[in-house]
């Protein structure tokens, strides 16, 4: 059975989706004032990278095409660990400073 998906959704469109999601995630991570908002941007960027990995795994010539999906599983694992630690950090900072506004968390500012 010929695969119409490959004829109809070109790889570039999936990469474009990944790129747009990454750009939005980057914007959110760089511009938000709340530390949890920054984390949401980081998670969006990780998801965008996963979309790209799975797109390559689906489309591009490879001796072991499923490796892209293995990478995506690892990325999800590390992202989960990152989210847990970062949110714990946010809660811990809040306990000491009563704020999550990154403009006010400036202990390391010279």
């Amino acid at each position: 059975m010929p695969d119409i998906l490959l004829a109809s959704v070109p790889l570039e469109h999936v990469l474009l989706l990944g790129g747009i999601l990454f750009a939005i995630g980057l914007f959110v991570a760089l511009s938000k004032r709340n530390a949890i908002g920054i984390l949401m941007g980081v998670e969006l960027m990780l998801n965008a990278v996963n979309v790209t990995l799975l797109a390559f795994s689906r489309y591009v010539v490879s001796p072991r095409p499923l490796d892209g999906q293995v990478f995506a599983v690892f990325v999800i694992t590390v992202a989960a660990a990152e989210a847990a630690v970062a949110l714990a950090l946010a809660v811990s900072v809040y306990k000491h400073r009563e704020t999550l506004n990154i403009d006010e968390i400036d202990l390391l500012r010279w």
């Binding site: 109809s8 747009i20 660990a81």
Partner: protein
Amino acid sequence: MINDTGIVVAFYILAATTVGCALMVAFVRELVQAVLFLALAFVGIAGIYIVLSADFVAVVQVLIYAGAVAVLMTFAVMLTPAADRKNSSTAFWAPAAVLAGLVLVIIVFVSYDTNWQIANRPQFGATAAALGEALLKPYVVPFEVASVLLMTAMVGAIVLTKEEEGEDA
């Protein structure tokens, strides 16, 4: 996979929904609403994974991201009641937008400029068994390292949020 035209339509609908939700994360007013839109974006991305014939990763995405990470973020918002609940931006939003736009331009340029070696392979079908085999044969060392990492992260999260003895937290 039901039929191919449906998959193509599904891809574009899911892509539009996901990008819309991601934009709402960036521009919605309340932090809690941003978390909810982020969860919706995660579900949309899981749909994209199914379109890309990655059924196992899609299920993991729903479980970990739409389930665990979204709940974790909601908890973090709820545990910080006196913090600002507005999803406002810093003064750096304009350079951030410029930088994000430039990154997008570079990604689009590279993805259209590169001559990708497209393989006309059929859909993968059920991938869970093959992924399990890959994780326990060629990728067994990263797999074990990942489990150590998860363990460390879990202990670290507990230690970071633990109330210290004799401290009025």
